[in-house]
Symmetry: C2
Subunit: 686 residues, 2 copies
C-alpha cells in the first residue's frame, strides 16, 4: 500500500517541463497568493473562534452557511503547503503553517471536538445534519492536513489534536447503543481515516472508515429507516423545503446514499462526493478486504465504467449538471451552459485522478479483486493501463486548465464551450473555495502519480511501473540500496521520445503504452518485452544490459469524438494526452463562441510551435487549414424541421487555430472557447 | 374577426376521411367515455359544492390541490360537447350538458363568485394566489363553455351566470383604488374575455382582457414592486419553499411574467401558458390595436419565431422540460426521458394551433401589423403560409397522436422517443386532466381551422382562403346568397390531388401551397394564378369559368431533420404533413427503443398500403429497405472519447418499417418507439 501523498517525495519533477513549471509557480506564487486570500477573507483567523461579520450573511445557497467549509480551505492549504515544503523550503509559508496549526490546536474543545461553525455559530447542533452540513468533510481534510504535517515535521503538534478529535468521532459513530449510525453527506473523512490507519495502525480508525463505507445507503439504518430520513425528521425539516441545490425533494442519490455502495448501479449525484467516496471504497478493498464482499468490489468497477464510458467529457471532466454539481443522464454531455450544462468541476477532476490512482494499485496488490474485474463482461476496457489513461487525460486537461499561468487565477467549473452566460475565464477566488487549494495539493504530490513501485517482501528486489511520462527522477531505497530511475523527455511536447536511465538493476520495469497511441518503439530493441493490459513489461535480464533505453510514443494530432449516443455530434483535436480548443485570442473573428464552426473529419491538421511571451511557456499549437467551415445560419432556419437532403451552406475558414485546453483563458480576449466542434455532415444531394 | 369556435359550424367534414373518422369516434364514444370519467372521479358533481373525500388528499405536486382544475375539466367537456351537438344530436350528452349547467348556476355565490375550491375548501382565500392557483384559468374555461353553450342554445342559462361572475372580476381587477392590479399565473381568461367581448360588445370585457395582457410582467405593478412578489409576501410564503415544479426559487418566467409581453425576448416557461397568452395577445392586436404598440406586436412574432425555429420538435410538439412542462434552452430538443427530456404536451400542441390560427387572421385583418412583420429582418419565414404549415404539422402529429383510435385512451406528453422510464403508451385519464377534453374540443371545432373567409363590407362578394386540405364542405351566407366550396381528396393519403367544387362565383380563392411541397399543379391550367406568401391566389375571372378544379400537391416520402444546432443529429421520415415513427409492433426485434438504429440520408424509402384491422383505418406506411443499420455497441465504448477516424461497426437492417406518429401506441406491444433516428456518419477512413 502506497499513497501518492507519501511517495511523491521520492520523485523530483525536472524544472522546465510543463509539470515542473506549474509546480514552480505554485511554490513561488500560488501558496503565498492563497495565503493572502485566506487572511483577507477571514479564513486564516477563523480557528481563533472569534465572530466574523460574514457569519451573519444569508446563505448564497440555502441552507448552507457561506463559511461552512472554511475549516477545509485552511486544511487543504496547509496540506498542499506541506507537500511543497517537503521539497522546497519557504520561510513565509512555513511560518504560516506553524501559526495555523497552533490556532487549530487552540480551537479544539475539551472533549476533542474541532469545527468552526459548530463551535462559534451553532454550538448546540453538532452532528445533527450529517447529510447537508460539512462537519465530517471538514474533519477529513483536517486529518489529511495533519498527516502531511506529521510527514514533514514528525512533531505531533497537529496530528495529536486530530487524534483526539478522531477519538471523539470513533466514540460518536457506529452501531453501538449510544452511537449515531450515520455517515457524512460529503465523503472525505473515509479516505482520510484509511490514510490515518496506515500511519497509526490503530484498528479503530480502520473500523470507523469501514463503518462509514459499508453503512452508507442502508435503507434501514436507524430505527428501521434511512439515517437521513430520521435525521431530517428530528431536525423538523419541512419535506417541501429541500436545500436549493437538490434535484428532487428527497434525493438520496445526490449524496450517493440511495443504496448500499455494493448495490449502486450507475454513478449519480454530486461528482466530487462520488469520487472521494469511491477513492475510499477502493482503498478499503485493499486495506480491509474481509470487510467487503465481491459485490462491493464489483460496484466500484461498475461505477467507474459507467462514469468513463457514459458520463465523462473528452477532457476527462465529469458532471454535466450545474444545479447539483454532478452527473446527468447517460451520454448527456452538453459542452456549455447554452446547450444544457457542463460543470466538470476542478475538484471532481482531481477526484477522478485519485480514484484512478487507487484502482491502479488494486491491480498490483489484490489480485483477487483484479481477477474479478477481468471476469466482469461489461468491462471491455484496457484494464489497468486504461485507468492511467484516464488519470493522465484528467490531469493534463480537466485539472491543469483550472489555474492560470501566473498561478493567481482559478476556475471552479471547466466547461468545454463558452457561452454568453458563462465565458471562458478565471476568477481570483470563490465563496466556496474548494478548488484553488486542491490544485496546489495535487501539484504538490503529483510525483506520486508518475510511477509506483512494489518491493518484494524480502526487500531483495523491486519493480517500477511508469504511469505518466513526466520528466523526473525517481529515487527510493530497497533495503540498503538506492534505486534511481530517470525519465527525460519534452513530454507532452516534442516527438514523444522518452529516455530512461536506470541506476540499479531491478527485476522489472513496466512502461505504460497509452490507449491513444497508435504505435510505440523501444530502443534498443527488446524481443522479450511484451505488453499486457496497456503496460510494456521489460524483463530483468534485458534491463541489466541496457541501463539506458528510449521509449518512443509518437505524438501526432488526431481527431476524437464522444460516443455517438452523446447529445452532440462533435470532433475534437488531441495530440498525445493533450486535448485542444479554439479560442478567440487566435481566431478573433469569432462572435458566436464557435457554435457554427464545423470540421470535416478528413481535415488536414498541422502542428505549429508556440512561444507565449507573457508566461514564457512553449507548446505545440495546431492549425486546421483545410476542412473547417462555418454554417451559414441565415440560410438555414428550422420551421421546425429542415430538409435533410438539401445541401448545407457553409463558408470555409481559411485557418482555424487550436491551443491546448489547459492553456485557455490566459490571454484576455472575449472569453470565447470551444473544445468540440460540430462534425460536418456531408451533403446527401437530392 | 372570426373565431374557429364559431365558424366551424359552416364546415361539414366528410366522414371516412382521417379527420372525419376521428371526429366520429369523439362524437360516438369519447364524449360519453369522458362523461363517465367525470362522474366516477367526482368532477361531475363537484359544482354541487359538497365535500369530496379527495379534497383532503395531499397534493401530488405541492402546493397545488389535486382538484384545483376540476372546474375547467367540466367546462372543457361542456364546450367540446356543444361543438359536437351543433352538428350531431346526442340526447345523453345533451342531458348531461343541461344538468351540469344547472349545477354550475346553483354553485354561483350571491356576489357572482364561481369556483369550487375557493368556495368549498378555502373560502377565505379568494384571489390571494393568482400566481400559482388556477382561479382565473378556471373562470376562462367557464366563459368559453358558456359561449359555446350560448351559440348552441341561445338561452342565456349558462352565459348569464358567467356574465355575473365576470362583473365581479371586472370590479375586482384593475388599477383602481380598491382593485387588485394582478393577472393570472395561467393565462386563459384573456382569450375567453376577448371572445366574450365579441359577443357582448361590452367594453368592460375588452378592458379587463386588455388590462391582464398589458399589465402582465410589470416590475412595478403593486406598491412599486412586481405583483407576484407582493402577493407572495402577503401570503407569508417562505422564499426557500417554492412550488415543487418551479425551475428556480423566484421564477417569473415560468408564468411569462418576467417582463411586459412587449419586452419578452425569448419564449420561456410553461408551454401551455405561453400559447394561451400569445393567442390572446394576437387577438388583442386585432381587436384593440390602439391599446398596444408596435413593440407589443413585434414581441408576438419574435416569440413565435423563437419557438418555431429553436424550440419546436419536428412533430410540432413544444416543451422539452418535464419539470416545468415547458420550454428549454434554444435548440435543446432531446427526444425522450433518457436523453434529457421531451414533454410536448397535448394541450401545448393545441395551443400552437390556436396561436397559428390567430396569426393567420392578423394577416387578413390588420395590414399594419402584417407589414410590420414583413419589415422584421429576423423573420425570414414563409409568412402566412408558414403559420398554416405549423398549424397543420401540429394538428396531424403533436395533437392527433394524443388519442387512441378507439377514443378511450389519451396521452398527456408526446415524446418523440420512448425509454425504459417512459414507454410510448396511452392512459385512461389523468389527475390533471386538461388534455383529454381539450382534444375533444379541438376536434369539435376543427372545421373552423380548415379555411377562412372574408366578406366585403357591402356583402357583395367574399374570398376564401384554404389553409388545410381536409375533405369537407364549406357553406356560408354572403348577403342572401349561399356560398359553397367542396374539397374532395384522400388527404393526407392518396396522391395529393384535391378536387374543388365551387357553387357560387367568388372574387377570389387562395389555396395554401405547403412549405414542404416541392411542386404543385392546378388543373385546368391557370396562367393568371400566382403564389404569394405560401398561398396560390386564383383570380375571379378564371373561377367563374372553372367551377371545378384540381390542385395536385404530390405526397411523397422525404427526410427531415432538426436544425443542426439541436442537441441531436437525427433524420425523420415525413410524407406530406405526416411525420413517421418506428414502433416495435412492426419491428419486433427492437430492444433498445431504436437508440442504436441509424439511417443513411441516401436510403431508399418505399410506400406501403396499411389497413389496420382493429381500427378499420387505412394509411400509407413507409419502409426503408436499404440504408438502415444498427450501431454495434459492443465494439464501441468511449473511454471517454472514441477515435473519430475509425470506421463504425454497424449491422444492416433489412427492412425498417415506419407508421405515422399519430398512429403509435394503438397495437399494444412493448411501447418502444422513435421519431428521429441517428444520422449515420459516413466513415472518414484513416
Amino acid at each position: 500500500m502506497a499513497y501518492p501523498q507519501k511517495t511523491f517525495a521520492e520523485t523530483k519533477v525536472h524544472p522546465g517541463s510543463l509539470v515542473g513549471r506549474r509546480r514552480e509557480i505554485v511554490s513561488s506564487t500560488t501558496l503565498i497568493y492563497q495565503l493572502n486570500v485566506l487572511k483577507e477573507t477571514g479564513r486564516y483567523d477563523a480557528f481563533k473562534l472569534g465572530w466574523h461579520p460574514s457569519y451573519s450573511d444569508p446563505p448564497l445557497v440555502w441552507p448552507i452557511p457561506n463559511h461552512l467549509f472554511w475549516d477545509s480551505d485552511v486544511a487543504k492549504w496547509i496540506e498542499g503547503a506541506c507537500y511543497f515544503l517537503k521539497q522546497h523550503s519557504n520561510s513565509k509559508v512555513e511560518a504560516a503553517v506553524k501559526e495555523l496549526v497552533e490556532m487549530i490546536r487552540s480551537a479544539q474543545q475539551p472533549d476533542g471536538y474541532l469545527n468552526i461553525h459548530f463551535t462559534v455559530v451553532e454550538p448546540t447542533k453538532r452532528f445533527t445534519n450529517l447529510r447537508d452540513f460539512h462537519e465530517l468533510y471538514n474533519a477529513g481534510h483536517l486529518i489529511e492536513a495533519a498527516l502531511a504535517h506529521q510527514d514533514l515535521y514528525n512533531n505531533d503538534r497537529f496530528l495529536e489534536t486530530l487524534l483526539r478529535y478522531v477519538d471523539l468521532l470513533c466514540a460518536t459513530f457506529g452501531k453501538g447503543l449510544n452511537q449515531l449510525p450515520g455517515y457524512p453527506g460529503h465523503p472525505e473523512i473515509e479516505l482520510a481515516l484509511l490514510r490515518l490507519y496506515e500511519y497509526t495502525k490503530d484498528r479503530k480508525h480502520l473500523e470507523l472508515a469501514t463503518f462509514f463505507l459499508t453503512e452508507r445507503g442502508n435503507p434501514k439504518g436507524w430505527y428501521d429507516r434511512h439515517y437521513y430520513d430520521v435525521e431530517s425528521e428530528r431536525r423538523g425539516d419541512d419535506p417541501n423545503k429541500p436545500p436549493a441545490y437538490y434535484p428532487e425533494r428527497r434525493c438520496l442519490w445526490y449524496h450517493q446514499a440511495q443504496a448500499f455502495i455494493a448495490e449502486q448501479q450507475t454513478i449519480e449525484g454530486h461528482a466530487v462526493r462520488a469520487m472521494y467516496l469511491l477513492t475510499a471504497a477502493s482503498d478499503l478493498v485493499r486495506v480491509n478486504p474481509q470487510a467487503v464482499d465481491q459485490k462491493f468490489e464489483a460496484a466500484i468497477y461498475r461505477l467507474w465504467d459507467n462514469m468513463v464510458q457514459r458520463k465523462m467529457y473528452v477532457t476527462g471532466g465529469i458532471g454535466a449538471m450545474k444545479r447539483w454539481e454532478g452527473f446527468g443522464l447517460d451520454y448527456f454531455l452538453p459542452q456549455g451552459t447554452d446547450e444544457g450544462g457542463c460543470y466538470a468541476e476542478t475538484c471532481a477532476g482531481i477526484g477522478v485522478m485519485m480514484f484512478a490512482e487507487r484502482l491502479l494499485q488494486v491491480r498490483s496488490n489484490n489480485n483477487h479483486a483484479f481477477m474479478h474485474f477481468l471476469a466482469n463482461a461489461s468491462a471491455q476496457l484496457k484494464l489497468d493501463g486504461h485507468f492511467a489513461d484516464v488519470m493522465e487525460l484528467c490531469f493534463y486537461n480537466a485539472v491543469l486548465t483550472s489555474m492560470s499561468h501566473d498561478g493567481k487565477r482559478f476556475t471552479y467549473s471547466n466547461q468545454l464551450a463558452s457561452s454568453d452566460e458563462e465565458l471562458s475565464q478565471r476568477e481570483e477566488w470563490f465563496t466556496c473555495a474548494c478548488c484553488p487549494p486542491n490544485v496546489s495539493r495535487i501539484l504538490g504530490q503529483i510525483g506520486g502519480y508518475v510511477w509506483s513501485h512494489h518491493d518484494k517482501p524480502d526487500e531483495s528486489s523491486s519493480e517500477i511501473t511508469v504511469h505518466l511520462y513526466v520528466p523526473s527522477t525517481l529515487s527510493f531505497q530497497v533495503g540498503s540500496d538506492t534505486v534511481e530511475l530517470i525519465q527525460e523527455s519534452e513530454w507532452p511536447w516534442g516527438n514523444g521520445d522518452i529516455k530512461f536511465t536506470l541506476k540499479t538493476a531491478l527485476p522489472k520495469v513496466a512502461l505504460r503504452i497509452p490507449g491513444w497511441a497508435d504505435s510505440y518503439k523501444l530502443s534498443a530493441e527488446c524481443s522479450t518485452a511484451s505488453t499486457k493490459n496497456g503496460y510494456l513489461d521489460i524483463p530483468p535480464n534485458w534491463l541489466s544490459q541496457n541501463s539506458t533505453f528510449t521509449l518512443s510514443i509518437p505524438l501526432e494530432p488526431r481527431l476524437i469524438a464522444p460516443h455517438p449516443f452523446a447529445n452532440q455530434t462533435t470532433l475534437s483535436l488531441a495530440r498525445g494526452p493533450i486535448v485542444y480548443c479554439v479560442e478567440d485570442a487566435d481566431n478573433p473573428w469569432v462572435s458566436d463562441h464557435f457554435k457554427a464552426v464545423q470540421l470535416d473529419p478528413r481535415c488536414k491538421i498541422e502542428e505549429r510551435s508556440v512561444y507565449d511571451d507573457a508566461s514564457g511557456d512553449s507548446f505545440v499549437g495546431l492549425t486546421v487549414s483545410d476542412g473547417a467551415s462555418a454554417i451559414d445560419l441565415q440560410k438555414l432556419q428550422a420551421s421546425p424541421a429542415v430538409d435533410a437532403q438539401a445541401s448545407q451552406h457553409a463558408t470555409p475558414i481559411k485557418e482555424l487555430q487550436f491551443v491546448p485546453y489547459y492553456f485557455r483563458a490566459n490571454r484576455g480576449g472575449k472569453g470565447q472557447m470551444r473544445v468540440g466542434l460540430r462534425r460536418a455532415a456531408p451533403s446527401a444531394g437530392k
